[in-house]
Subunit: 310 residues, 2 copies
Amino acid sequence: MEYIEEITSLKEQISFRGMIDVPSAIDNIVIAGMGGSGIAGRIFKEFYTKKPVTLVRSYDIPEFVGPKTLFVAISYSGNTEETLLATKKAREKGAQITAISTGGKLAELVKDTVIVPDGYQPRSAVGYLTIPLLSGFELFNEPELDVAKKLLINSDVNVNPYKKFADEIFSGSKIPVIFGTPGFDSVAYRWKTQFNENAKVLAYSTSFPELNHNDTMALENTYRKDEFYFFVLTHKPLEKEIADRIRITSKLCKFEMKEVEGEGTSLFSKVFTLIHKGDYISYFLAQKRGVDPRNVAVIENLKNELRKSK
Amino acid sequence: MEYIEEITSLKEQISFRGMIDVPSAIDNIVIAGMGGSGIAGRIFKEFYTKKPVTLVRSYDIPEFVGPKTLFVAISYSGNTEETLLATKKAREKGAQITAISTGGKLAELVKDTVIVPDGYQPRSAVGYLTIPLLSGFELFNEPELDVAKKLLINSDVNVNPYKKFADEIFSGSKIPVIFGTPGFDSVAYRWKTQFNENAKVLAYSTSFPELNHNDTMALENTYRKDEFYFFVLTHKPLEKEIADRIRITSKLCKFEMKEVEGEGTSLFSKVFTLIHKGDYISYFLAQKRGVDPRNVAVIENLKNELRKSK
């Protein structure tokens, strides 16, 4: 499959019918996942705040994990070392365990695994990896899904705005910086990782209002400011408070942010349309740079060397 | 008070005797704090995983906040808008509320506020803001405290290594990137914010092993790699798995990380000595750049403009 086909499959991915079982007797949720698979947990946290949600991005699990914990292990390959080890530890502590994966060792380990279609790069299976979580907790409805699909189809029609961003980043060899706003912190991080993995450029993300307490001081008079390319991820209606912060920060620190909007009225459509736009921009930047957006050889090499050194 | 005096007061700050009251009947902990005050919650999360800990870095609080929640509001000035609003919302939901502050509106709002010494920049009061949390939960002991004090006194004796890092960053106008390791993610973020606020340079942080799933792809062949300056925060004994990742990542991606170590054997001494080293480096970088590390005028201007636009 070409990478562009993977990207444009997001509209089909969000119709995926698999969902995790959510037991009623839980006090908290722990989601383990790394990189492209870990993003699903981050997105889930934007949608769900009825119980504490803790993300695990390493081998270790929190002490509180126990029978009242729903532990969700997410690994597209099913063979992510960190996630497998964390899942084993969660089992020892009696957690209620479910998983999302194409199979691998994780599906052997966890009977209750939602199996998703394989053949994708983990990071371009973001729909498949996220929907079973959101569905299990009933965090979107059919009308929202329909609207999101239409908006995603629309964004495939005219990709020139994404190309333009990529051109500008490329022609100045700029480092992308992505500012989230409340509800879209996870998407800002998703953009960062897509710039890293698809376009092979350094990038970082942070969010309003937190960045007004630190990055703002740098933005006023850092060196190299012109070598960065700033995005801010917004939606409508944007809280006045946040809109004011964006406007005033830009004015006081004398720099420009490219505003990219999540579309539609639901959090669901806003999140997925924003993810889609970031995917496109990073893809076009890869094209411009002449690098293969699918290639993750260095990560594979790293895994091999880690295995050998054990 | 000179900024260097603030920095070198960390050894006294960690002896601060104030502590929050921790009710026994709680299911979860929510800590609200922005910027320099927010770092205390991040550090706390490294020490405490017996119950879920959720950090609030905006106006909104999670839906689950209720009578079984210990809500800790941290604001050095006591007047941080986001934290005050979040605290009011937590009160409406019946949470058990405590606060750490020099006073301000927060101390008026929350009777049970631990009052810390004033006259510091919030970010250089990191000891005062963190200790009441760690003490309340009994997360360190007297011998650990004594060792940490001695190590901090030692690090004040020879500051040349920190100056050298600052010189190298300055002479190449480099952008600092700080890689954490498990247990020190919060400290990596602290370094980033200190580079932002003290030295007024852009910077970002991320951590092993997560960065091996995204930044690593960029590190192999991003443009501008030579314009960044990479730190990795470690300690002894470092997990073999993480040591391998650092070594192999550096080799495969052909770049150098400056390793900076937390000292001593307890998490307590490691965390505070690492914070101290980052404070120094960012301070010396400010000196080199000829900027005032205390100056946060742009943040004050921003707050004023925000107030006016209401």
